[in-house]
């Protein structure tokens, strides 16, 4: 077991290194003189040279990369050009809010998607099944940023049930209840695509499992259908769902930039959006590196969890 864990962890090291190379190289895509572009058109010659010196742009590429990576490993992601603050503390500060949104969305996606998939599979070809297929199709086709605007329009501006902006009320109590109240619409918006995917995968996986021999045996023994589904089929049927949750984690982290922009949710996504507008590339670079690194780690955790849940693949790296 230990060798499996060590093997999987070691296998992610080259991926993380590759991620760092890609993030580093995106900075090199800047056309023309990067220092001039980063300093802006109004910058003086001294300011341009200062940026060139501080980012090490006058040194060979591999020296720039190893220095940047060394600093990043030690938690130093450079300084924001616009706000002149350390990028690492800025992105970590906002990451907490993004994680709140991502976790809220995951809860919504699982509580909506999995039950729909189960009901759909156990009542195959019924009206409910057809409705769930349409739900999955709609969820998969709907742009999250549009869904967010529609929810704001209906539930916030017209019905005044939820706030349309921010994470806490500017006036009044700002406790857990207030956070949940603000979280509902953005989390619901972000959960649309994963909920649809979970419904689809749960349905097809459960349908497949319900045709297995051991399920027929359970039914032949006279076990009630509900118990057959819950105790016998669901455990195995949900294995692919666990993998999907890992894949969707990337969606939740990436998609948060759109949803945070729509709802002015003060997370990493909104920070990246603002940084792009200000052409604050060290901040963009730091944010992207952090999210990509986090995504790799989440997938590693899901792999480990999967090996625990499915004994057939345990200890095989």
């Amino acid at each position: 077991m230990l060798s499996f864990v060590v093997g999987r962890v070691l296998a992610t090291v080259p991926v993380l290194l590759g991620v760092s190379v890609v993030v580093f190289l995106t900075m090199k895509l800047i056309p023309g003189d990067a220092a001039q572009v980063l300093a802006g058109p109004q910058a003086t010659r001294e300011q341009v040279e200062l940026i060139r010196e501080s980012l090490g742009l006058n040194r060979p590429l591999y020296v720039q990369y190893t220095t940047w990576l060394g600093n990043a490993v030690r938690g130093n992601l450079g300084r924001s050009i616009e706000l002149e603050a350390p990028v690492s503390s800025m992105v970590l500060d906002r990451l907490k809010n993004t994680l709140v949104l991502a976790i809220g969305s995951a809860v919504f996606a699982i509580t909506i998607g999995v039950p729909i998939g189960i009901l759909s599979a156990t009542r195959r070809a019924s009206l409910l099944d057809r409705a769930s297929v349409v739900f999955a199709l709609f969820g998969n086709s709907m742009p999250s940023f549009w869904l967010g605007l529609v929810l704001i329009l209906v539930l916030s501006l017209h019905l005044r049930l939820f706030p349309s902006q921010g994470m806490y009320s500017l006036r009044g109590p700002t406790g857990f209840g207030d956070l949940m109240w603000h979280l509902t619409l953005p989390a619901l918006t972000l959960s649309g695509v994963p909920a649809a995917a979970l419904a689809r995968v749960t349905r097809s996986s459960l349908l497949e499992t319900l045709h297995e021999d051991y399920i027929r045996t359970a039914r032949a023994k006279g076990i009630a259908e509900t118990r057959v589904v819950v105790r016998h089929a669901l455990g195995n049927a949900l294995l692919p769902v666990v993998t999907l949750v890992g894949i969707q984690a990337g969606y939740l982290l990436g998609g948060s930039i759109l949803v945070e922009t729509v709802f002015s949710w003060p997370g990493l996504g909104l920070q990246l959006y603002d940084a792009i507008g200000a052409r604050d590339l060290p901040l963009v670079q730091g944010g992207v590196l952090l999210v990509a690194g986090l995504f790799v780690c989440i997938n590693l955790a899901v792999d480990m969890l999967y090996s625990q849940l499915d004994p057939r693949i345990r200890y095989t790296a």
Binding site: L137, S141, S144, G250, Y251, T261, I276, A292
Partner: protein, 272 residues
């Protein structure tokens, strides 16, 4: 399926015939007619905050959105298929290097990678298309590689090789045609997702730039007047949704016809 074909044909025809159907210039500003509601005389779909005709902008925007959705898919299918063919057929160290490179690109949430590329290159519709192409290549490459791994062991490839066919001929004449159906199926789904993805980039200000009408950019502009003129954001959003929906249904239909065993997979451009 028929409804999806009809809907998609309607969207494509409307976009293609925009110069004929749209009687008003999509970028003509009319301050007297700001935020005119639906059904206003001469402006069936109303106007936006600058008094520009929403019908014209939606039709012209469709041209941009469809091109930005389709061209990157075609480019990434071409490059991805090439990479997948080479990696799958040759195997060994070359396959190892290509696969690891794809793994690294897969480690990024797609929208973040696109965002990093466009923010460095500078916001423009062409840079957005380039970024979408780069982001979509790994999925095609991985799909084709997995197909080629199975195909290269098959008897007809062995037969071609024993008859003295060169590697290029085997790949192009024998292996490639056998991957085509799955690439077409995947490409159909991917086009729907890419249209949403491209709109997302424009929504963030990284794709089409004002005053170019594009569905994502229009939606972003409409966001600021959502409370007073809901139609400005809702109409382009509905256009994106219906186009993506019809392509997804069409993808299901194409899959059933070309490759009934395939069940479809997660896409790189799901992120929007």
């Amino acid at each position: 399926m028929l409804a999806a074909c009809a809907l998609l044909s309607a969207v494509v025809s409307a976009a293609a015939l925009a110069p004929l159907i749209a009687s008003v210039d999509p970028i003509r500003v009319d301050p007297r007619l700001r935020l005119a509601p639906l059904g206003t005389a001469g402006h069936v779909l109303g106007t936006d905050q600058l008094g520009r005709d929403m019908l014209s902008r939606t039709l012209w925007g469709g041209r941009v959105s469809l091109v930005v959705g389709i061209v990157p898919v075609a480019c990434s299918a071409f490059v991805g298929t090439g990479v997948g063919l080479i990696a799958g057929y040759y195997g060994g160290a070359l396959d190892h290097v290509l696969t690891r490179t794809l793994d690294v690109l897969f480690a990024f949430p797609a929208i973040l990678l696109a965002l990093a590329i466009v923010s460095a290159l500078g916001p423009s519709i062409y840079n957005a298309m380039l970024a979408i192409t780069i982001v979509a290549i790994p999925s095609f490459a991985r799909l084709v590689r997995s197909l080629v791994l199975g195909l290269r062991q098959r008897a007809f490839v062995e037969a071609a090789r024993s008859l003295g066919a060169g590697t290029r001929r085997i790949l192009i004449r024998h292996v490639l045609p056998n991957t085509a159906s799955q690439v077409i199926v995947y490409g159909t789904f991917e086009t729907g997702k890419t249209i949403v993805f491209a709109a997302a980039l424009s929504f963030l200000g990284l794709g089409a730039q004002p005053p170019t009408p594009e569905w994502g950019a229009m939606l972003s502009e409409g966001r600021t007047v959502l409370g007073t003129a809901w139609h400005v954001a809702t109409i382009p959003g509905l256009a994106i949704f219906l186009t993506s929906l019809s392509l997804n249904v069409l993808g299901d239909g194409v899959r059933d016809v070309l490759d009934p065993r395939q069940t479809g997979g997660a896409s790189r451009t799901d992120a929007a």
